[in-house]
């Protein structure tokens, strides 16, 4: 193993950083959920400004959900993705969908930032953490879009480079051979993803952890009784 500095840096960024990020994400989220339950909120600002809100929040959320789902699918079933991509037309459809979603996310986020700056009331509900978040997100989306344009067909090479690396992280036998050879823009994209994960539990992003899935199967009315409040009765 060479002792050259660049390689050492890679080890810090692609082995130490991900483990630290995931640890922070898990431990702080759990701690916050138990100790500071009250702070879990979407912190919606629709009440303060109702018109511009739509044009930022809707494209951003739909865009980012599509993109994240795409990354997850690429990670979970790389073989099937490669198989899908073996016919050029299907590859173009996949890449175009991802690209449109990325552009939606970016325009949504820019719209959100403009709203935060231009509406005076919004300043009262915008924290420093929000601004740091906006910064990392912009960087993350821009590097992603850059890759889609200049390092094309990421949906295919993701399956044979990033997936083995991520799997090696999850199996606790980190192997960064594929990553060290990557262009810097790809490395930046990965690093800022880890920063978002590390930063996640300290910010308003925690609202994504409490998405209201029980609503889909609970009955309409909720009644709680003093003595047996843990067994909430649905009627």
């Amino acid at each position: 193993m060479a002792n050259s500095n660049p390689f050492f840096l890679d080890q810090v960024l692609f082995i130490v950083l991900p483990y630290v990020s995931f640890a922070l994400f898990l431990l702080i989220s759990i701690r916050r959920y138990i100790r500071e339950t009250f702070t879990f909120s979407s912190l919606s600002s629709q009440f303060l400004e109702n018109k511009h809100h739509f044009w930022g929040l809707i494209p951003f959320h739909y865009g980012i959900i599509t993109i994240l789902t795409g990354h997850l699918i690429g990670f979970l079933i790389p073989r099937e993705v490669l198989l899908w991509n073996s016919i050029p037309f299907r590859l173009y459809v996949l890449e175009l969908t991802a690209f449109v979603a990325a552009v939606l996310t970016l325009t949504g986020l820019i719209s959100i930032i403009i709203r935060r700056i231009s509406v005076p009331k919004m300043k009262m509900v915008t924290s420093v953490a929000d601004w740091i978040l906006f910064g990392i997100f912009i960087f993350q989306i821009v590097t992603g879009i850059y890759m889609a344009i200049f390092h094309s067909w990421g949906s295919s090479w993701f399956a044979v480079t990033a997936v083995p690396y991520l799997v090696s992280l999850f199996t606790l036998s980190p192997d960064i051979t594929f990553i060290t050879a990557m262009p810097w823009m790809v490395k930046f994209h990965i690093i800022s993803a880890y920063l978002i994960i590390a930063f996640f539990p300290f910010t308003r992003l925690v609202h994504a952890l409490v998405i209201p899935n029980p609503y889909l199967w609970r009955k309409p009315q909720v009644v709680r009784w003093y003595g047996k409040w843990k067994s909430v009765r649905h009627v």
Partner: protein, 496 residues
């Protein structure tokens, strides 16, 4: 029969003087915190008027309450499928502009102003941003503006009134208005509870008070759109929704809620109703004109042995049943039938009832002369200054029958009392009038007493809340002896 107990309320609109003491009592206790300044859990509206938030009764805009579709009860604002798409941006959510931007004044500028030729002024500053603002709307901005073309004419309850009736309402020198105090109705079929994606809203099993669990609320704000009365509010600072809690800490210590306690006109009554929870859905689905009778049929007779037995079996304490037997609300709603629910067509089955107001002067016009006596005693009601249809839109789901019944009875009792105290109406015709209004001398006396001579104890029959059976008592008191207390001890800090 699934008997439950509910704290229910009656507001006697004929006695409301519109002084807003109730609103201030509530504000000083509950909503003077940051993010809640704009909220009025209790407010008093002038009717006809647009109310708070503006045009809250316009459900085409806000989509509150329930509708019946394919014989099923459905929320108008959301559904299990739509919650997924509307969670990012709720299309029927009111914004601060629909309420008002709260403000205060820079009072110190009055005292610190340098000497000069002008009087110093205290300029208004926004309580949200702290910047100077031009005040364009405020709480009760349309107070007493009965005939105003900006406010009164935009009242959604004017729907279905004839042009003549509208003109009658708005003609100068014939203007008419009455006050409409509102709090959360603590409904039997609350749409706010049903809409909450997180399941944070709930009805307390023991007393039916509807609350928002502040720890489980995630600020998805579905309750705000879903409540047709717009009585859940979004705290923009903490990112949680809040609503009237019927002063449950006061009720638990035997005191009336602050708005009830402070009511100058003594218009407010509070007591227990026992109801059959098994029939809720069936009643909420009835056609508009049967809803009031349906809701009354839900309320059970607390002296019926079968009801008492079922109540005890369901874990309702004996003392609560006793309290239900003395409930003034039961008398107004079920026995005398003069208290009516507001906008029952929203199908939330509200548990706050209103005695409809008599018109200020019940005179009829005969060419150029004003006549206050007509041959038919009850004729004036049909010809009242506040058109019956307007009251029917508010309290009768658009149908006049129940309003006429309630007003007739009130009018008959006035005649009867006049016969008793003044004596210029003879007793026989007074009793005949009572009979025509489906009332007896005994009932008339009882209504008169509970309306005019009522003491604190008559108006507020608060059941023992039996907190000794609550969760705290199941914890070891020794363990908590040196700590800060039970329950919610985390400060309401906004998250990053």
């Amino acid at each position: 029969m699934n008997v439950r107990s509910q704290i229910a309320m009656v507001f006697h609109l004929d006695k409301c003087i519109g002084c807003h003491t109730c609103s201030i009592a509530c504000k000083n206790i509950w909503t003077d915190r940051r993010g809640t300044e704009y909220m009025w859990w209790n407010n008093v509206e002038t009717k006809p008027g647009t109310g708070f938030p503006t045009q809250w009764e316009n459900q085409e805009k806000y989509r509150g309450g329930w509708k019946v579709e394919d014989e099923k009860l459905k929320l108008r604002s959301t559904s299990k499928a739509r919650i997924v798409t509307e969670i990012f941006h709720n299309p029927s959510q009111p914004s601060m502009d629909d309420y008002y931007e709260p403000w205060t004044y820079k009072y110190d500028e009055l005292f610190n102003a340098p000497e000069g030729p002008d009087q110093p002024t205290a300029r208004p500053v926004s309580m949200v941003t702290g910047e100077y603002i031009n005040v364009e709307a405020g709480p009760n901005w349309d107070d007493d503006l009965g005939g105003s073309p900006v406010y009164a004419e935009n009242d959604p309850n004017l729907k279905g009134l004839s042009e003549e009736q509208k003109q009658q309402l708005f003609a100068i020198e014939r203007l008419v208005m009455f006050y409409f105090p509102r709090i959360c109705n603590h409904c039997l079929n609350p749409s706010c509870v049903a809409a909450c994606p997180s399941g944070a809203l709930y009805k307390r099993g023991e007393d039916g008070i509807v609350l928002i669990d502040q720890k489980r609320c995630r600020g998805w704000r579905a309750c705000i759109a879903a409540c047709p009365y717009k009585k859940t509010f979004y705290n923009w600072s903490t990112g949680k929704s809040e609503k009237c809690i019927l002063c449950y800490p006061r009720l638990e210590t035997g005191q009336a809620p602050a708005c009830f306690h402070s009511c100058v006109g003594r218009i407010r009554y509070l007591g227990v109703l026992l109801y059959d929870a098994d029939r809720l859905e069936e009643v909420a689905k009835l056609p508009d004109d049967q809803l009031i009778d349906g809701q009354r049929s839900l309320v059970l007779n607390p002296i019926d042995p079968a009801v008492i037995e079922a109540a005890l079996q369901n874990g309702i304490h004996e003392s609560v049943v006793e309290s239900a037997q003395k409930s003034p609300v039961y008398k107004f709603v079920k026995e005398w039938k003069i208290a009516l629910p507001p906008h029952i067509e929203y199908r939330t089955l509200p548990m706050l009832f209103y005695v409809p107001p008599m018109s200020p002067v019940m005179a009829s016009r005969n060419d150029d002369t004003i006549q206050s006596v007509s041959d038919e005693f009850f004729h004036d009601i049909e010809d009242a200054r506040v058109p019956l249809q307007f009251l029917a839109n508010l309290f009768g789901a658009g149908h006049q029958a129940k309003i006429i019944y309630a007003l007739k009875k009130q009018k008959a009792i006035r005649a009867y009392r006049r016969a008793v105290t003044v004596g210029d109406i003879d007793k026989n015709s007074a009793e005949k009038i009572l009979r025509e209004a489906d009332c007896t001398p005994d009932e008339a006396d009882a209504i008169y007493k509970l309306t005019s001579l009522c003491t604190f104890e008559d108006r507020f029959v608060i059941p023992p809340m039996h907190r000794e059976e609550a969760i705290e008592m199941m914890k070891d008191p020794q363990y908590h002896k040196s700590s800060v207390g039970f329950g919610f001890v985390e400060g309401p800090q906004r998250g990053l």
